[in-house]
């Protein structure tokens, strides 16, 4: 069993989710007496960078190079990846389920002609089969599946799998990528979001506000707490639809699905579509004045009270904690 795991590099840095995915790849390979390798794509990947999967017990790294891989183009990258995987006889390819991973993986599945399993939250090896657990109906249920002959393309949900530090020697090989004549979209620019905060999809701590926040001006207070945490600010659809916060902050069924270590819900009732986006968070705190709000059913810790009283106190406490 040979598994390739994609390492995403953005602005000269490896995304942490790549190490989460690679840790799992290394573990599967070990259990199946197989081999897990790292794959970097692009012109400006240094040898030193390509060695860093040594942290998570990946013994071989490849760098795919080609003029056409200088800037990101999903189908061209996918063509490079699947041609490489075919040529070196890999059985499976793993991606972190980042926005780039979720963009690339299905295209790779098409070119590699291997089924795709998205947004996986659990991977095991049972009787020689790699099994996957994937949320369906926005996490209201899970489906456990495997793929014939352990041939798969899968993306692993961010922030769910631990990075397992296990150092080893890593060999690096640079390979000239083979590309098919694929038509691709090309990235030509980037527009940074308005806030200096992390995106909810990446943050380890999220503080979210709902209709209970009463108005846009009060989200400032949440942003400040988020900043103290080094985290992100989220919102319910009610707050987004009211125009208080941009849609990029929305958590839930038609927003983003998040699994941070800590999710703090302020003035959010806990509608099923909101829970769909955050109920797999490790710790959930609910602050709501209605003791019967459904958000308390999923909360690890709850405070029944007025958020306009609680949140400023919370900010003070965090400030003194962080010194």
């Amino acid at each position: 069993m040979k598994i390739l795991t994609y390492f995403e590099v953005k602005d000269g840095e490896i995304k942490k989710a790549s190490f989460e995915t690679a840790s799992k790849a290394a573990e599967i390979a070990e259990k199946l007496n197989g081999e897990a390798c790292a794959l970097f794509v692009g012109e400006n990947i240094s040898e030193e960078m390509a060695k860093s999967p040594s942290r998570v017990n990946i013994k071989k790294s490849y760098i795919l190079k080609n003029e056409s891989l200088k800037t990101f183009s999903n189908s061209i990258y996918a063509s490079a990846i699947s041609n490489f995987a075919k040529e070196r006889e890999f059985d499976a390819i793993l991606f972190p389920a980042t926005s780039t991973g979720k963009d690339l993986a299905p295209i790779v599945s098409a070119y590699f002609d291997v089924p795709y399993i998205s947004d996986v939250i659990k991977v095991d090896v049972e009787n020689g089969d790699v099994t996957f657990v994937k949320p369906i109906f926005s996490g209201k249920a899970m489906k456990k599946i495997s793929v014939e002959e352990n041939c798969f393309v899968a993306s692993l949900r961010v922030n769910v799998f631990p990075v397992i530090e296990k150092h080893c020697e890593t060999l690096v090989e640079s390979v000239e990528a083979k590309l098919d004549d694929v038509k691709s979209s090309k990235v030509t620019g980037y527009e940074k979001g308005s806030s200096e905060l992390l995106d909810v999809a990446e943050a380890d701590i999220i503080i979210s506000g709902g209709r209970g926040m009463k108005g846009p001006e009060n989200f400032e207070m949440l942003a400040e707490v988020a900043k103290l945490f080094g985290g992100a600010m989220g919102a319910s659809r009610a707050a987004v639809d009211a125009g208080w916060v941009p849609h990029s902050h929305q958590v839930g069924q038609t927003g983003k699905v998040v699994s941070p270590s800590l999710y703090i819900a302020c003035g959010i009732s806990g509608a099923i579509q909101h829970l769909a986006g955050m109920s797999s968070s490790k710790v959930i705190v609910a602050i709501n004045k209605d003791k019967d709000a459904p958000i308390f059913n999923v909360a690890t810790y709850g405070i029944v009270g007025d958020l306009f009283e609680i949140v400023p106190l919370l900010k003070e406490e965090i400030k003194s904690l962080k010194g």
Partner: protein, 258 residues
């Protein structure tokens, strides 16, 4: 411009889901089915482009007879006609297989643009559209919140962590539509009436020219599982100041997340 919109008939988001028969089956509370909310953005975008450039919008779905309801809904919004790919062989397909069926039909169609939803609620794959685009060898842009077409040049903005990515490509291409791209219209009464008279072409596996050998490696279903239960929560009582102190203490010492 001939625009294909891929639409899926799904259970609405209020539906409650329960695992039954030791994981062999799902039971649903609520039997409301709708046009996948993200596909409404795709249909709406198609209609706006048709209003601008002229042409035709065709809705296409893989599914059983019931899926014709979502196709009618798309036509009530304004789509001109519909194609239903329906066969017992097409039940419960994985994204790659679904996409291969769709691509097989689209190879026989002419089109300038394919629009799909960001994801199909229920299966939550976020994959079928991209795979269709890849199989047809046309550019793919996913999670798009802004689309501009001039001549055969396409500029799209897609949502990524912390901002938007700007993409350029040429027609024909495939665009997966995210909330924010537009505000879908409600069908008018006239639209609903005329949708009843519009054509749905139903195509089965043999007309499409495929059989079970068409599908490659298969996903094996093992079981359905309930989501991991959440540990019972703790309600922190007392004066706000004390409660917040207690909360921060629990977060740092018990839960160890600070």
């Amino acid at each position: 411009m001939r625009i294909i919109t891929l639409v899926k008939h799904v259970r609405d988001t209020e539906t409650r889901v329960k695992v039954a028969e030791n994981g062999a089956k799902l039971e649903f509370i609520g039997e409301n089915w709708v046009l996948n909310p993200y596909d409404e953005f795709a249909v709406e975008e198609g209609l706006r482009l048709k209003e601008k450039f002229g042409g035709e919008v065709v809705a296409l779905s893989v599914g059983d007879e019931e899926s014709s309801k979502s196709l009618r809904q798309a036509m009530a919004m304004g789509a001109d006609s519909a194609i239903l790919l329906s066969d017992p062989l097409f039940n419960d397909l994985d994204p790659l297989s679904t996409a291969r069926v769709i691509a097989e039909q689209l190879k026989k169609e002419s089109f300038d643009l394919i629009l799909c939803g960001k994801h199909g609620v229920g299966d939550d794959n976020q994959a079928v559209g991209s795979i269709v685009g890849a199989l047809l060898n046309i550019p793919v842009a996913t999670v798009v919140v802004n689309l501009e077409i001039q001549g055969s040049d396409v500029k799209a903005k897609r949502e990524i962590e912390g901002g938007l990515e700007v993409l350029e490509m040429g027609l024909p291409c495939l665009i997966s539509c995210q909330k924010g791209l537009n505000e879908p219209r409600y069908p008018s009464l006239k639209g609903i009436m005329s949708a009843k008279k519009k054509e749905i072409r139903t195509i089965n596996a043999s007309v499409l020219g495929i059989d079970e050998k068409f599908f490659s490696k298969r996903i094996k279903f093992i079981t359905f599982l309930e989501p991991p239960p959440r540990p019972k929560g703790k309600l922190i009582k007392g004066e706000p100041r004390d409660a917040v102190k207690e909360l921060v203490k629990l977060l740092s010492e018990e839960a160890k997340v600070l």
